[in-house]
Symmetry: D4
Subunit: 222 residues, 8 copies
Amino acid sequence: MADNGIVPDWQREARIGVGEAVYCGGKTAEQILRITVLADERKHSLLLTKLEPGRFAELDAGAQRRLGFDPLSHTAVLDHGLPTPIPSRVGIVSAGTSDMPVAVEAQRALAFHGVSAPVIGDIGVAGLWRLLDRLEEIAAWRIVIVVAGMEGALFSVVAGQVPGLVIAVPTSVGYGVAAGGATALHSALASCAPGVVAVNIDNGFGAACAALKLLRGFREVI
Amino acid sequence: MADNGIVPDWQREARIGVGEAVYCGGKTAEQILRITVLADERKHSLLLTKLEPGRFAELDAGAQRRLGFDPLSHTAVLDHGLPTPIPSRVGIVSAGTSDMPVAVEAQRALAFHGVSAPVIGDIGVAGLWRLLDRLEEIAAWRIVIVVAGMEGALFSVVAGQVPGLVIAVPTSVGYGVAAGGATALHSALASCAPGVVAVNIDNGFGAACAALKLLRGFREVI
Amino acid sequence: MADNGIVPDWQREARIGVGEAVYCGGKTAEQILRITVLADERKHSLLLTKLEPGRFAELDAGAQRRLGFDPLSHTAVLDHGLPTPIPSRVGIVSAGTSDMPVAVEAQRALAFHGVSAPVIGDIGVAGLWRLLDRLEEIAAWRIVIVVAGMEGALFSVVAGQVPGLVIAVPTSVGYGVAAGGATALHSALASCAPGVVAVNIDNGFGAACAALKLLRGFREVI
Amino acid sequence: MADNGIVPDWQREARIGVGEAVYCGGKTAEQILRITVLADERKHSLLLTKLEPGRFAELDAGAQRRLGFDPLSHTAVLDHGLPTPIPSRVGIVSAGTSDMPVAVEAQRALAFHGVSAPVIGDIGVAGLWRLLDRLEEIAAWRIVIVVAGMEGALFSVVAGQVPGLVIAVPTSVGYGVAAGGATALHSALASCAPGVVAVNIDNGFGAACAALKLLRGFREVI
Amino acid sequence: MADNGIVPDWQREARIGVGEAVYCGGKTAEQILRITVLADERKHSLLLTKLEPGRFAELDAGAQRRLGFDPLSHTAVLDHGLPTPIPSRVGIVSAGTSDMPVAVEAQRALAFHGVSAPVIGDIGVAGLWRLLDRLEEIAAWRIVIVVAGMEGALFSVVAGQVPGLVIAVPTSVGYGVAAGGATALHSALASCAPGVVAVNIDNGFGAACAALKLLRGFREVI
Amino acid sequence: MADNGIVPDWQREARIGVGEAVYCGGKTAEQILRITVLADERKHSLLLTKLEPGRFAELDAGAQRRLGFDPLSHTAVLDHGLPTPIPSRVGIVSAGTSDMPVAVEAQRALAFHGVSAPVIGDIGVAGLWRLLDRLEEIAAWRIVIVVAGMEGALFSVVAGQVPGLVIAVPTSVGYGVAAGGATALHSALASCAPGVVAVNIDNGFGAACAALKLLRGFREVI
Amino acid sequence: MADNGIVPDWQREARIGVGEAVYCGGKTAEQILRITVLADERKHSLLLTKLEPGRFAELDAGAQRRLGFDPLSHTAVLDHGLPTPIPSRVGIVSAGTSDMPVAVEAQRALAFHGVSAPVIGDIGVAGLWRLLDRLEEIAAWRIVIVVAGMEGALFSVVAGQVPGLVIAVPTSVGYGVAAGGATALHSALASCAPGVVAVNIDNGFGAACAALKLLRGFREVI
Amino acid sequence: MADNGIVPDWQREARIGVGEAVYCGGKTAEQILRITVLADERKHSLLLTKLEPGRFAELDAGAQRRLGFDPLSHTAVLDHGLPTPIPSRVGIVSAGTSDMPVAVEAQRALAFHGVSAPVIGDIGVAGLWRLLDRLEEIAAWRIVIVVAGMEGALFSVVAGQVPGLVIAVPTSVGYGVAAGGATALHSALASCAPGVVAVNIDNGFGAACAALKLLRGFREVI
């Protein structure tokens, strides 16, 4: 079990267009450290996701300094020469304030890969005017990452109004029958608006990866 | 087991404001017939719900004639002097054409109790203009029965736009994760718009009963 | 991301009859503080729900003083000139002592909007006499908010006995198959008593909003 | 695979107090026939449960004649000298007309073993007076088999009012969230009334067996 | 809200044979104290269940002294003259060591009501000899409370071997697909052995109440 | 209820890039006919999905002739001058023969909108060589619609090997724990390969719409 | 779409030790026929599983003659020179008569690959003596395929008594909480007996394949 | 309740080939200690599983010293003369770093019984080359324990490529729809690759036991 069985897929970005990120859920501080060491050896930048503040605090001071940690989105970045993000036709909308951590996870994952994308927050359908006020802006995007918990009605409303592809990111915000995000996820998948696609609950990173694959496939921005 | 154990609650309307209806799911044609006979003996009008066309066809010709059967909503009415429905501040909206059977079940249950209510069909959120076109009309209602399947986004959108109480009736329309209506039901209950209440899946009759109790409680119309 | 993406829907009360409340689940102390600052700037009163004592304790002392916090119901009130609640034809019944937090959440949400409503506690059906003793009082209400966990049998029993509309609030009280409140919720929705409507598990606030919309729609009290 | 792998447990009644019955769900007509032949050879009476009318019709005319089939409860009896049922302190109550097939399954299973038990039908809690009218009678029973679908509120109400043991038989009557009987089952198990026990959904036979084991254990009747 | 809405059902034991116990799940220390005070005023003994050690520790020292607390079963007893338990034909078997807390909850609830019952522990079916060794003893009981988690195979095996009524108490012991006790519960309900009845997951108290109702109904012991 | 409440969203294609299709699940033959009449009046081409052969057979002969029906994919096309499909960088792969109906639904929906896309069938991972043989071809696509039921492992394997965006279409193929398609859906959403997006179970049409929105957004082909 | 996208994995047996079988669920008669034609061309024997009698009846008379169809297990065999099965250390036990179709599916799949295995039927734990009578025989097997529905207690009991590996095949036999086989499956997976492994519900074929891989890996019989 | 109801099944290894291990979930430190004392008295070695570090820390220092505790896999070993593990034809592969604790649990359980097995870590299908690089090695094993969470695609891919029996160990690694391991479990059971068998979620110990029973049955290694 040399290297604790850790075999990073360094070739992933060349092969499929997005690099390997480190999902920190279920990993020990020791395992996370070992991966950053391997990356340092290769001068390979690294994005870490779902890194709980408590786990981050277990890392040694040096590692903490080297990692750019964002406590809202639970992401960290090991920077070995990342490019400055440049504007794109991708944007993010977030239904409520509680959904912001996931929206920012998507934004940070895009930025890590050189893509700048705005976040429009707090436009849940209970106050429809908030969405309608920003509709022209959103309609200009080719890819619209929509982040929403509870009943996830925002996915259908946006998808019915704008031509861009809606990538739905259901969140675990809510309680009772909403808890866990299953209702928001199912709302995205059962949407009456055609063409909505979804990623896993709270998976802002996944939505960003999908957007990146498209931008690269269609030779936009990057 | 005299009378096959059938003990109608004839006093229900006097006690709680809505009369006993006959839920025909799981009842044999013989049991349904026996109840109509008991009602005939008392000259008691009767509403039958969830009466499958196949079950209706098993009834004898006389019973079929006496019952006003509606094949779309699977309801039937035994009329021993029902009042002519009069206008109310209650209305029904339906997300899609496939939801109409449930919307009409609600409408027929209201009419049976003397209340006339319009149905506005096919205003699902994928084409938001259809709802916005009718918004003024809907905003004038005190009770808005919203019937929707699939992801049930309509519940939140209507509830965020109009002052009337939204009674959500999720329907079993859809497939995959929508199937059975659970997603639409959970969307209603987890709505980000405050004050949405829900009844069981496909239960247009229940929504009508809730409206009737309110109209009577607040001494409107009836 | 100016204002952290927080865009309160201040017009909500004018539009639909109940104002925006702050659901504190999943919000950071910083986000909650920011919203109260925005409300202070407009002299806008604010109701906060699902505010865990631990989260409340993270707020600075000034904010803690300005917020009227109730540790039983996890609600807080920012008061910029709220009216004194006046009596209504709305009442609340609670099945057990463990359900009181949710019953009080409903009561506090009504009071915030100027409506006074009594709570009758501990009348679960295992001791039916407790309900029958209070039946006359309950039968005089136009809206009966029933709060119950475990098997939620109280919803059907009350709804079968009184003319007022039963708004069922299932609670997460119980364990095993009751856990999470799904059984109580399903009991409300599948009730054999006609016209029961339900809100999400533990959603006392939602039941209050439904009642408020009705009182306003029918021009009662407020 | 001699005898098609059929090995009846003829000693069961001697060992545990109730005999082997033939659960016909998932059995072919051929398999059912073979078991009746084995029973005939031993002059062993036999109870068959969940025997669909369509399956019964596939049996040859001789077998149909020899089996006392009840199309309501889907039970059949092969009688090689069964005793005349005698009265007991066991009774059955049924919430609605649609629950009668399961109530009668329990009644027939008791009768097969020599125990006579009355069925009181149609006393669902939506009309509580129907239960209160019969309360004295029910309170005299030592074992009360309660059969109810939908929300199953009857289990708790009866158990809170009478001293006999309530054996809850949830039924699959209902639709939407009730469908399949899970809500009624969970209501029985999560009851706020102490001491309710439950059997599987639609399992009237199982409730009868439990009652029989008790009557024998306590040397009552049989 | 005088008395915090607490209305104990003191008449319950007279009416149905088992007294009101205090389910402490979801109750504050203050609410629990208030109930013990009400009981003290009436010299009414009291059984408390699901009392977490942490919650017990929040009570004042006087209350802690007055309550006989058992940390294994999370039960406590307020004793105002309880009878000495006397032997019965009821017994308890427990599949594994991890199931003992629930088995002891049942045992303590029986003892509170004056009934002594042995617990035979650690006889899970993986080592069938452990059950067979004790079979004669168990076969002499009229009521067998079987406590088991994981796959709950013990319910069927015992019920197929002994004449007493098996009351299954599924426990939340296990992980993965067993977690929460649903698998053990469903095993009890779907048992191929006739006449098994079940109570809620971890509900040792409920099983004891069922046994007590039977003992009283059949005039045994008590 | 003029026009049976049918209000087609004719402007949808102009607004969001894909036109309204007619989901025939839950619609009566009469409702379907009425929609085709409305389309004929406007010379508007129409795609019908989830049109069961039995429902199609209920339409009158004229309608049957006018509709190009495909019994494998349960789709039909009303053609008022559709363009000839032209090649694109979109392709479809299907795990097994049983998944072909859904793959062809996607293919037909693309063709209806003027996009030609190949289907590579029967490349499930149990025989990995079948996928590896076609990998170069698939790696050239910008959008890869992957159709798979059972455990849906194909989604992850393809997404880990090619740069195009994988749109996963889980199917209801399989039985036991696979039945209904939930396992395949969850596999797509929980994929260890970054950037997989999913649509509802059996929703080939939805995957095609997502692809069309992208092609239009990025000004490819159409 | 030449050959309808059908690409059999003829090399599978050489590669992994068991050949490709044709899962007929969800396949049209036409697709099934096409596969048999492809097999005939190569003189390749073929096992077909989950072939409903109704689907079999749709095949042309020639195909029906060429296929050895077993209506109990819904399997068919296209024989191009299969070997005569020879005895092995593998055996099958079945809990009840209703489980025999799945047990025979396993037996036929073994025989197709040249392995003869006995089936011991009807040894459910409700009558434990039936199992104990055959224990010596079962204890001699190296692999024990146990087929059981309902609560699946047999898996644990057998696994605790014999040294051979228990491969559990849960079946969909039962109703209520057992329906679909989930309870039996979970019982197998949560078994207190160490080392039980499981395959999908009703998947007798899968259990046979696992046994075949082991026999080949360990160079037994074949 | 002598010995706290603890009755170890010391004869288990002789009877079925694997010894009783101590599942520590739900056991108190006191109960765990008592079992080790009973083992010490007999000089019986003991494997403890699912021993949380916090629970281990509650044991007295002497016990902690005597137990070889591994904090990664939460296993401990009481060694009264265990054999040195010798090489076998069994191997373990693990999809990701987060799955290593479960893989090591399996490895330690095998070693406890004298079998040495390598672990190949981090070969998830998102980077298929990692698996293909090691394929020859894996193809030489007779039993392949595959440990994977999230979507569990690795089970099918390995099983389709190598002749050894795949024993799938789904893990609870992942979030959203993956959480709890149900998706990985269902992927294993619904695999399109024939002959995959599964154990419970996170049950590395169970997979090891299955392998041990086979090695003994086929007289390999041990």
